[in-house]
Amino acid sequence: MNPPTAGATAAPTSRTPMIAAAGLTKSFPSDDGDDFVAVKGIDLVVPAGEAFGFLGPNGAGKSTTMRMIACVSPRTGGSLSILGQDPSIDGVAIRSRLGVVPQQDNLDEDLTVRENLYIYGRYFGLSRKQCWSKADELLEFAQLTEKAKAKVAALSGGMKRRLTIARSLVNDPDLLLLDEPTTGLDPQARHVLWDRLFRLKQAGVTLVLTTHYMDEAEQLCDRLVVMDGGVIAAEGSPAALIAQYSTREVVELRFVPGTQRSVLPVVEQIVERIEVLPDRLLLYTDTGEQTLESVVAAGVRPVSALVRRSTLEDVFLHLTGRSLVDG
């Protein structure tokens, strides 16, 4: 990850963490009497200026954690401090300094793009004049100036997402929370969004995001936690997580689905760690090309083979035994 640029946009010096949680727990009452525990006592500290990610499959407890951080969902256990304050006491004051990008857009489709930005600024107590000028500034940031007078209903999914992110910046937040910012977008729209988020990061805004895309986590996060089943399974920078929980390279052998297990006895002689997917074997090794040669020499004939670097997907597979997106 690129470090923040020097000078005026250097990392803030404040020592108060943006987020500090200890034993943070959230349970929901359920019909059968047993509470459903969505977040099971997690600990986190996010310093100012960091881009921090929650990586995990659907249902891991990421969004629930985000809602507690956003001060819209009271915790049921543990302690939580956002911007040095307690959400259960100072929720309103904290929310005035947060930017929130929810998982599902909640723009007003009947209003124009510009009006959506304007009215959101009003909720933060900005004057009408400030709101209109802020709206124009943000339209430019989100590359939506040409759509200023269009109704939101007429925008594409990527444009709506950009507008939601622009809207979350209307109060110049100290902390920006993004819940699955690019889910459901096409690759091009995702790259435009990543570019915008990267600029914010360079400007020193603390970003906290959830995602189940490992490439997104690798692109944007200085540090991340892998969440699964309401607990934190691992924590570190993307590179550190890969170094700790995976090998340098991965050999992917593709087979006709169902036939991949027949060669297991052979490849088990060659590498220590193997993941079996429905149509593939993943062989974990530090020397990919060499391993592939040995496999072929041993008489294994996959439909296709490739050697690649380890990713966070491999970390996740290792930690949970499941793949991230399909899991």
């Binding site: 108060t16 009215i119 959101y120 933060f124 110049d172 914010l200 020193g204 805004v205």
Partner: protein, 286 residues
Amino acid sequence: MSAPTGRSTEHAESQAVPAVAHATTPSGWRARATVWEYLVLTWRPYFFSGLASAVIAPLLYLLALGYGMGSLIEARGTAALGGVRYVEFIGPALLCAAALQTGFGESSWALFGRFKWHRTLWGITSTPVTPAQAAEGHVLFIATRVAVSSVLYYLVLLVFGAAGGGAGVLMLPVAVLTALSCAVWVMALSATIDDDGPGAFNLAMRFGIIPMTLFSASFFPITQLPWAMRWVAFLSPLWHGNELARGAAIGGLPGWQAAGHLVFLVALSITGFVVMRRRFDVRLVV
């Protein structure tokens, strides 16, 4: 928080504690007013088409019922109507019924959509605006919306000579109060239901608003109802509104009766308001 055009890094160093002191948290009334402003903004595209229907509907009712049916009714004498023309008898009730319907529309589909389909209420309550303030902003807006269409209705009644004397202006606050006494309960319903919005609102319309309109002495005096049916009217907020509105326009309503109707409507409004605010909290703070 720094000035809105400031770079987000400028306040990073001072974020430890003091930033809170100058955070731009709007005060309670300003927060409610911004929600009201939002709703006015969403109303604007429909404002003129809304005005047209707010004038055309009463015109049609007054012509068809007031004059058409009225000519038949008046042929039998107006004693049962308290000695006024039929159009004068139904004028105040039509105004209240229209207010009730406008309030119902704003508190049912429109509000439900902000919970269910557009989810804009979650956007609003991610800001310093609290769920209770969002709820109260909605009440303010519905009152505004009902007041504007009631003024138009009143002007049409004036043209037809069916708006009573000077005290007839009091029909306006009566209509707003009547509409709100039901709207807060419908708002509570909208904040509660999740999947079956259409079903719930159709039921409320069929077994609430429509029978209320028919059996609240809107089109005939309550004395025409058999005793067994009068309790429907006594429980109907619209009946209490109609009696007050008629009292204002035509007169002849004893003070103690007026006070009774007023107490009923205010009590219904306050209880509904308390329940509705709670429902907003339960829905939005999970």
